[in-house]
């Protein structure tokens, strides 16, 4: 079921992104730099969040099924469920960095339109790579749980396979962090 849904969830996220882009593109002048920057920060959280929510959710369902069959497997399937959860945290992390950069905690926001777009785009790598990698990582995690169920002592291999997908979320995160810290001029 979930495997067929991956595309739709990814599409939902990308759709959100497109809506924000269109909004910014047509009404940028009216919205102003602050709103654009905040939209970017929000997108980082929401896109990573969608991926992680769906990923951890479906992985949890299967983990519960496997644990029901043999409760001893709980400790083995738990990390596999947790793996697609990091993307949501990466998104949150990027949003928080963006907020700090914008001085959101320090007082009045006063970003120009250009600065707003800079923050917006700096947030995207983590958001989009997080969204898609979490969904596909969940697929690998689900398959990895079969390893845990059938050959419990080999479950570590499932974790490594799943972590391969996360690489690209990590790269997205790294890019977003570097962009926000050094490329965005505020």
């Amino acid at each position: 079921m979930f495997k067929g849904m991956v595309g739709s969830w990814a599409l939902l996220g990308v759709g959100l992104l497109v809506v924000c882009l269109v909004l910014g593109g047509f009404f940028g002048e009216q919205l102003g730099g602050n709103v654009l920057a905040l939209m970017g920060a929000g997108l980082a959280v929401v896109l990573g969040g969608i991926g992680s929510i769906v990923g951890v959710g479906v992985a949890g369902e299967k983990a519960a099924g496997i644990t029901a069959e043999d409760p001893d497997n709980f400790g083995r399937v738990l990390p596999l469920q947790a793996l697609p959860g990091t993307q949501g945290i990466y998104g949150f992390l990027v949003a928080f960095l963006a907020l700090i950069k914008m001085n959101a905690f320090g007082g009045v926001l006063s970003l120009t339109l250009e600065q707003g777009w800079q923050v917006f785009f700096a947030c995207l790598p983590a958001g989009v790579s997080g969204l898609i990698s979490a969904l596909y990582q969940a697929k690998v995690s689900l398959a990895g749980m079969d390893i845990a169920a059938q050959k419990p002592e080999e479950s570590g291999k499932g974790m490594i396979l799943s972590a391969m997908v996360e690489t690209y979320a990590v790269l997205g995160l790294l890019t977003s962090i570097l962009l926000i810290m050094f490329a965005v001029k505020i």
Binding site: T86, M159, I160
Partner: protein
């Protein structure tokens, strides 16, 4: 050496010794058995072939499974929270185990269990049935005629019926020859006793016509409670039923109590299950042995250093012959990793990927320092490191694991995390700076900072990539050593040694280009390496015309190494992730103080504890899998073949319990 040397062992024995020999081998637990390769092996004796009677353990195991699931309704074996993760089994003393095997009467308990199960379900059925009847009878209690007398007589039809309340006023009920008495009324319905004088002509349920006209239904309560009609009035019948119910419940309780008592033996059942599983296992293993008409050939491997002990233990059998020899070239020798106690925990990392084959190097000592450093850098927070180490240490002390390599690994990795955290000034994120500004702690922690990852990530990126270069370089060295050890000196030096020279030469040359090193030596090293690489490339090409192309083509490998090195950027990313989330947790808790003056200080510990624990858990998992990945994908691909079979000596099956002395 890190891979234990093995001796290939063949035992020849008379077939009469089969059972005691295998049991002895199991008890010794030193020999890894393999399928016999003896040619001309005869078929196993009749008793072991397919047509033989089913062995005892098959029946016992299925009985035990039934008993076990029955007992588990009454008794559960207490499991600690951590046992969910460690899969620890309940402990049974050897004495109790032996006792259970000798005295426990499985068929009897099985029969009892089945009988009880059946009786309980019958009782339950009866109870539900009687309770339903009571419910039906309840409203009819005021009826003052014995229920058995409500029936047709020759001239009169009497019955109990339910009619709509509105129908009570109907003329039909008040016509002559009809008597009724209202027993109850509820929710627009009424229960009545009805007598209709039918005359001689039609005795056949004369009341039915009348009831149809009223829209009511006839009840036949007497048939429902036939067994209790002797009691007479409805209320007496109810009392009789209640008495029967009490009786049944008492019976049920007695059985349940007996069951609960029997279920105390659940641990015995688990022990017995293991006992018969062990028999099954031995039976399977026996079928792998080779046979001639009178003799038995058992083959396998024993660690070379255990050989004397092994012979000594088997000396009780005087009539057997033990041959031990060096394993041959084509033998699939099982692998047992044997490392220094400090390196041993890192075998857990190797084991996740798979064992090396018997003839190559054990990668564990090579990956150990890198895994240790990478994990520390990725998690990179001193307090998290302290927590991780303390937790693992406590876990090892209290949980008494059979294999504590993994927890020890976490403990060691905690140390590197402390180190990395201290050097990057991360103690619970920026806790000292944000909460203890100006105190001694803050001054001490900031005085040992070498690098601040948040403000200077570029340096850390370079450090990460530098570690990557060293890691890959070591991988190539290991390959070179392995090749030379296998006797291919020229291949080792040319194919791998060339890169061992070229790669650092290139890096140093790069450093000299940007002016960090003022010397021409790197250029010479790189040039020498490049020449070697080209020679090695040309060497493999037989066609003399294609040799130059092949030689230059060898440099294409640089692309592979380059992308490998980039992969180490994840160290920086993960370090930033855990450090920044730590900072975020602190920031949020400070914001809360500002938002909720006064009470804020109460909420802070909660936010800090929750946030930092979550960060620790998520990032420890991430650090582990990503440090692992760097070993498996970037490092192992340089030299590791793998595919070894782990050494698993024949031992007693311990699936459900762990035996103690």
């Amino acid at each position: 050496m890190a891979i234990a040397r093995m001796r290939k062992v063949t035992i020849l024995a008379y077939q009469e010794l089969e059972t005691p020999l295998f049991e002895k081998l199991r008890d010794i637990g030193l020999m890894h058995l393999t399928k016999s390769t003896v040619a001309g092996t005869v078929e196993p004796p009749e008793e072991m072939s397919l047509h033989a009677a089913t062995p005892e353990y098959v029946e016992r195991l299925s009985q035990l499974a039934v008993i076990r699931s029955y007992f588990e309704r009454y008794n559960t074996i207490e499991k600690g929270f951590f046992d969910m993760f460690t899969g620890k089994k309940p402990e049974v003393s050897y004495r109790q185990f032996k006792n259970a095997v000798v005295t426990y009467d499985i068929p009897e308990v099985f029969a009892k269990v089945q009988e009880h199960d059946e009786r309980l379900s019958r009782i339950n059925e009866q109870i539900t049935d009687l309770e339903q009847k009571l419910q039906v009878l309840e409203p009819w209690k005021p009826l003052d005629i014995p229920l058995g007398e409500v029936r047709e007589t020759r001239t009169c039809d009497t019955c109990l019926a339910i009619v709509p309340s509105a129908a009570l006023g109907s003329d039909v009920l008040h016509s002559s020859g009809v008597h009724y008495k209202e027993i109850w009324q509820d929710k627009g319905q009424a229960g009545i006793w009805l007598a209709v004088f039918a005359g001689e002509a039609s005795q056949e349920q004369a009341a039915n016509t009348l009831l149809t006209a009223l829209g009511g239904t006839r009840l036949n309560l007497a048939r429902e409670v036939e067994a209790y009609l002797d009691a007479g009035l409805v209320k007496d019948i109810c009392r009789a039923i209640e008495a029967r119910l009490t009786e049944l419940r008492k019976e049920q309780e007695t059985i349940l109590a007996k069951d609960a008592e029997m279920a105390e033996g659940l641990l015995d059942i688990l022990a017995l299950t293991d006992y018969y599983l062990d028999k099954q296992n031995l039976d399977l293993i026996r079928k792998e042995a080779g046979r001639t008409r009178f003799t038995l050939v058992v083959e396998g491997y024993v660690k070379a250093k255990d050989m004397d002990l092994f012979r000594d233990r088997l000396s009780v059998f005087t009539d057997i012959e033990i041959i031990d020899e060096e394993p041959g070239e084509d033998d699939d020798v099982p692998v047992y990793l044997e490392n220094h106690p400090i390196i041993r925990p890192f075998e857990a990392v190797t084991a996740i990927y798979g064992y090396p084959n018997y003839r190559e190097l054990d990668p564990t000592p090579w990956l150990a320092p890198f895994f240790w450093i990478f994990f520390g850098l990725c998690l990179g927070d001193a307090v998290y490191g302290i927590m991780l180490s303390l937790f693992s240490w406590w876990f090892i002390k209290t949980q008494k694991l059979e294999d504590d390599r993994f927890m020890r690994l976490l403990m060691y990795c905690g140390f590197s995390t402390i180190l990395a955290g201290a050097l990057t000034g991360s103690w619970f994120g920026d806790f000292p700076v944000s909460f203890l500004k100006g105190t001694l702690i803050e001054r001490i922690t900031s005085s040992i900072v070498v690098l601040d990852p948040i403000n200077d990530p570029m340096t850390l990126l370079l450090v990460s990539l530098a570690f990557g270069i060293v890691h890959i370089w070591v991988g190539i060295i290991v390959k070179m050593v392995g090749t030379i050890r296998a006797g291919q000196l020229a291949d080792g030096i040319m194919d791998h040694g060339s890169w061992v020279v070229f790669l650092p030469g290139m890096v140093l040359w790069g450093l000299s280009k940007v002016g960090i090193i003022q010397s021409n030596i790197p250029l010479y090293i790189m040039a020498a390496g490049a020449v070697l690489v080209m020679i090695s490339g040309g060497r493999s090409q037989k066609n003399i015309l294609l040799k130059p192309i092949s030689a230059v083509g060898r440099f294409y490998d640089i692309v592979g190494y380059f992308s490998d090195v980039l992969s180490y950027a994840r160290i920086l990313a993960l370090m930033l992730a855990s450090a920044i989330i730590g900072v975020v947790v602190n920031t949020i808790s400070r914001l809360v103080v500002d938002m909720l003056p006064g009470v804020g200080w109460v909420v802070i510990p909660v936010i800090l504890a929750f946030g930092h624990l979550l960060n620790l858990a998520i990032n420890a998992l991430g650090s582990f899998v990503h440090s692992g990945r760097l070993q498996y994908v970037e490092f192992f691909s340089k030299f590791f073949e793998g595919g070894g079979t782990p050494f698993r000596p024949l031992r007693r099956v311990r699936e459900n319990i762990s035996l103690t002395d």
